[in-house]
Amino acid sequence: MRALKPRRLALDYAAPPRRRRWPGAVALVGSLALAVALVARHDALQQERAALQARLELQQAGARAAPASAARPAGDEAKSVERVTHQLALPWPEMIESVESAANRQVALLQVQPEPGRGLLRVTAEAGTQQAMLDYVRRLGESQALASAHLVSHQVRREGGARPIQFVAQATLRERP
């Protein structure tokens, strides 16, 4: 038989009978568990609140910065936007007409490349003869939208063909009245 420490005798005529301890212990453990859960929940809510607060501040900061960004674009994206805006502002119809009217059966256009920042237009084309090439550059400079046309480079292709000379000409965009 195992020796047991006897329980306290409860034979008091004045004090209320001692209550069993286990309900109190269960209540204590339950209360502690609840308290721990509440503390953990509180911490989680605090973290969530902090995250939301940070997100809100970021959004507010973005909203404040947006007008300034529009006025003074920065970075690659802003530069692209600026470039496109400049390109859209070019006198495309006049430019196309000048480039096309200068061409004939001896000259064929390959590429038209404006450089709005520098006010230039670069044209890549093929010509059947060297004279046809020079005539084309001259006519380009005499057109309505372009001025100061000159030959940048040219090369004669070995494989020949109907237009064996490929060249690059460059002209200045005239200011709009």
Binding site: R7, L9, A14
Partner: protein, 243 residues
């Protein structure tokens, strides 16, 4: 001690004297005037009434330890057919009535609530004694009665760590009486409350041997707990058990 918490006063309540103990105080013994009242406890109650006004200067919590002269004990077997504390207490009353007859009708009976014990301690005191003790302490007074407990309860709860032995005995000796409880592995096996003088060692040894023989249980080694052995006064020893 905090000024907010009341001072504890322990009173051994015996027929011939009161033993009064306060913490950090050697204590004092107040003799009772003899033969003032009809009951055995009347003199002690009168002495208590006289002394209580001394405790009204500060908040005090008074514990009364009842001499075994005023208490009857019985070991009440557990009956699994009984349901609830009320039925168990009624059964304990029946046990006392079987032992003491009709005079137990006016007694106030209490039954220990140890759920594991096959035999539980029941005790009984005169109902008038309990009412008399409570009447000594006026409602709202600064001296408040917080506990009225038999000497057996006070001593057992103080020394119970030594009573878990395979065989143990608790011997409470006071003038004119001895109470002997025997336990096996912390469970009660025998409880006697005997009139007589057992203060001398040969008397108490004889009592132990006699009870062992009556029980038919003579263990090789029995742990004997006797609180009074190293105390100067039996009444102070009785009160100090409730510390």
């Amino acid at each position: 001690m905090s000024r907010l918490s009341p001072e504890r006063i322990l009173v051994a309540f015996a027929p011939a004297a009161l033993g009064i103990v306060r913490p950090r105080d050697p204590g004092r013994v107040v003799a009772c005037d003899s033969r003032l009242g009809p009951e055995i406890w009347s003199d002690a109650l009168a002495a208590l009434k006289k002394i209580i006004p001394e405790w009204q200067n500060a908040k005090t919590a008074v514990t009364v330890v009842l001499s075994n002269h005023f208490v009857r004990y019985a070991l009440v077997p557990r009956d699994r057919a009984l349901r609830g504390a009320a039925e168990e207490l009624a059964y304990a009353r029946h046990v006392f009535a079987r032992i003491h007859g009709e005079r137990s009708a006016d007694w106030e009976v209490l039954l220990d609530d140890d759920p594991r014990a096959p035999l539980r301690v029941g005790c009984a005191i005169d109902g008038a004694l309990r009412h008399g003790l409570q009447a000594c302490f006026a409602a709202g007074a600064r001296a408040r009665l917080v506990s009225v407990q038999p000497y057996l309860m006070a001593a057992f709860n103080r020394w119970r760590h030594r009573l878990a032995a395979p065989a143990a005995a608790l011997l409470l000796v006071e003038p004119g009486r001895a109470c002997l409880g025997r336990l096996a592995y912390g469970r009660w096996t025998c409880l006697r409350n005997l009139r007589g003088e057992f203060d001398a060692p040969e008397k108490s040894t004889a009592l132990l041997e006699r009870e062992q023989a009556l029980d038919g249980n003579v263990p090789e080694r029995e742990e004997l707990v006797r609180p009074r052995q190293d105390e100067a006064d039996p009444y102070l020893a009785m009160a100090q058990c409730a510390l």
